[in-house]
């Protein structure tokens, strides 16, 4: 078992927060700490999709027992949430868990979806005491499962993100924005976050605006 342990928190971090935290820690803080949430068309679609998935019942198909909407938790990393679907596959020495997460759209370039899935695997490992070597992401657009092996690198990244985010929550601090076009322009919170603002000094702006407003006034050298 890896040695990383997340800071103690009053409440566990929702598994769904991790995908935001990988994408951008500030985004995760705005949503999960400051509770700002711009509901837009995409998030609404995502919600509808999840509602449908969560309605499914548990059932068995051959050597696979399928549990949908399965509650998960991991004490070591302070995580909790719900898995869309976990398949328990019969093997010679018992069942192996295989988490499947449903995603709107198609596979993305960044690793947010994989991290969220890997976090589910870490929960399942702690809960069942058995290794969870892989899982899958199911993308609505392509209607394909993409297999995700939980290798050492993905596990490390997932643990790191969980710890970084836990530290933010413990401190109640939202990290400052840093604008990165590829990331920010696709971010649903851009208008709440205003990542370009931090580059400008508002005090300097105020000084200039007042000076401009006084530019026509007689009798004043401006400092």
């Amino acid at each position: 078992m890896p040695a990383i342990t997340a800071p103690e928190l009053d409440e566990p971090i929702p598994l769904s927060a991790l995908q935001h935290a990988v994408y951008c820690l500030r985004q995760a803080a705005l949503i999960h700490i400051e509770r700002m949430w711009e509901e837009n068309r995409f998030t609404a679609e995502g919600r509808v999709l999840h509602d449908t998935v969560h309605e499914a019942a548990d059932h068995r198909r051959g050597a696979v027992r399928r549990v949908s909407a399965m509650p998960l938790a991991c004490r070591r990393l302070n995580l909790a949430g719900t898995a869309d679907l976990v398949e328990f596959r019969d093997g010679p020495d018992g069942e192996t868990a295989f988490p499947v997460e449903y995603k709107r759209g198609k596979a993305k370039l960044h690793r947010a979806d994989e991290v969220q899935l890997c976090a589910q695997a870490l929960c399942l490992e702690e809960m069942t005491g058995r290794a969870v070597p892989e899982g899958a992401l199911f993308y609505a657009t392509t209607r394909r499962r993409v297999g995700v092996p939980f290798d050492a690198e993905l596990r490390r990244l997932t643990e790191q993100v969980a710890c970084d985010f836990a530290a933010l929550i413990a401190a109640g601090a939202t990290p400052p924005a840093s604008y990165r076009a590829d990331r920010c322009n696709a971010c649903s919170l851009i208008e709440l976050c205003r990542p370009k603002l931090t580059r400008t000094s508002a005090a300097e702006f105020r000084r200039r605006a007042i000076a401009a407003s006084l530019a026509d006034a007689p009798g004043g050298e401006l400092p």
Binding site: I33, E34, R35, M36, G172, T174, P176, A177, E191, L192, R194, L197, T198, T200, S201, A202, A203, F205, R206, R207, A209, I210, A211, A212, S213, L214, D216, A217, P218, G220, L222, P223
Partner: protein, 344 residues
């Protein structure tokens, strides 16, 4: 840019509002007069005797759409809102900073004075030629005095009390010549100095009425970004007073309210018959007069301007929201000051 959601104003005595599916329907004498989808609405403001059905109240509250009840004269009576979300960390920061509010107050006051000065300058520029010389030089003198106050406020380290004093001094000078900006000659439409509760002449009645509308928008803006509308910086806290909404409103009054009042009067969109004087001397807008102001107010809010700090074009009606957002960003430490809304 965020969409400007609508505020629905209902002024017809005896109207009734009900829910129909995902819509608000307004009826007068059982006849449908308006139908607005909930997703287009930010709030509903009702004047006087209007029936609001319980299912509609529930539906609006559940969607975060506020209902505000005003009496016929536009005085606040009640507000119905769903669970206030707020942002605990932001509010804590707001309370902390409200204990040492000097720098934020500097922004509010400097913008207000600069904008008052611009209102006077605009009138001088547009009509100065036609003004009597004496009048004109009185206005010019106030413009200079406001420049002096602005210089003091913006460039030196005044404490909060001195800033509040400067604000009062500027308001006094500004309103001492405000009446000269009225270009119609009807005796009923002249300005006899600022009078509030109650307004004692037609001009004050318009100003007070538009300030009510603006206060409502500023309060909603504060709430929308998670700030506590009751805890202010420039305005001292007093139970029941939306001090922060009043703060946010200060810098916008000259631009959004005073200019609108002047143009409604000078363009004769409002005439003496749009006002009624009650026993005891209070002057109020009539139903028609109020409708005229509301239409003009809604139109004004749709006009687009370059936002001085953000550098983006935004509808004027969004400015309270943007300023509230910038204030919250300053309170949470993302911005080194609160950027004032200085109109040019």
């Amino acid at each position: 840019m965020k969409k400007l959601l609508n505020t629905l104003y209902v002024t017809t005595e005896g109207a009734s509002l009900r829910k129909d599916g995902e819509n608000l329907v307004a009826e007068v004498e059982s006849e449908e007069r308006a139908r607005v989808p909930f997703h287009m609405l930010a709030s509903v403001v009702v004047f006087g005797g209007v029936y609001v059905s319980p299912p509609l109240i529930q539906a609006l509250a559940a969607r975060g759409i506020t209902i505000v009840l005003l009496d016929r004269a536009g005085r606040f009576q009640a507000r119905i809102e769903g669970p206030v979300s707020g942002n605990v960390l932001l509010r804590r920061a707001q309370y902390r900073v409200s204990e040492r509010p000097t720098d934020i107050v500097r922004s509010f006051v400097s913008a207000k004075v600069a904008n008052q000065r611009t209102v006077l300058q605009r009138s001088l520029r547009d009509y100065g030629e036609e003004m009597a010389v004496g009048l004109r030089s009185r206005i010019e003198a106030v413009v200079d005095r406001l420049a002096g106050i602005l210089r003091r406020v913006g460039m030196t380290d005044l404490d909060v009390e001195a800033l509040r004093g400067a604000e009062g001094e500027a308001a006094f000078g500004y309103f001492s010549v405000f009446g000269s900006l009225i270009r119609v000659t009807d005796p009923e439409m002249q300005f006899g100095g600022r009078s509030r509760r109650p307004p004692r002449d037609a001009v004050n009645a318009v100003l007070s009425f538009i300030y009510v509308l603006l206060t409502h928008d500023c309060r909603s803006a504060a709430e929308a970004v998670g700030l506590d509308p009751a805890v202010g910086f420039l305005h001292r806290d007093r139970p029941g007073r939306p001090s922060l909404a009043l703060d946010l409103m200060e810098e916008l009054r000259p631009v959004l309210a005073d200019r609108l009042a002047l143009s409604l009067i000078n363009r004769r969109q409002l005439r003496p018959r749009d006002f009624e004087t009650q026993d005891g001397g209070a002057t109020l807008l009539t139903d028609d007069g109020r409708r005229t102001v509301l239409t003009a107010w809604q139109d004004r809010k749709k006009e687009e301007r370059q936002h001085p700090f953000l550098g983006e074009t935004a509808q004027l009606g969004l400015v309270p929201y943007l300023q509230a957002q910038l204030l919250s960003r300053h309170l949470r430490g993302d911005l080194d000051a609160y950027p004032p809304y200085i109109w040019k």
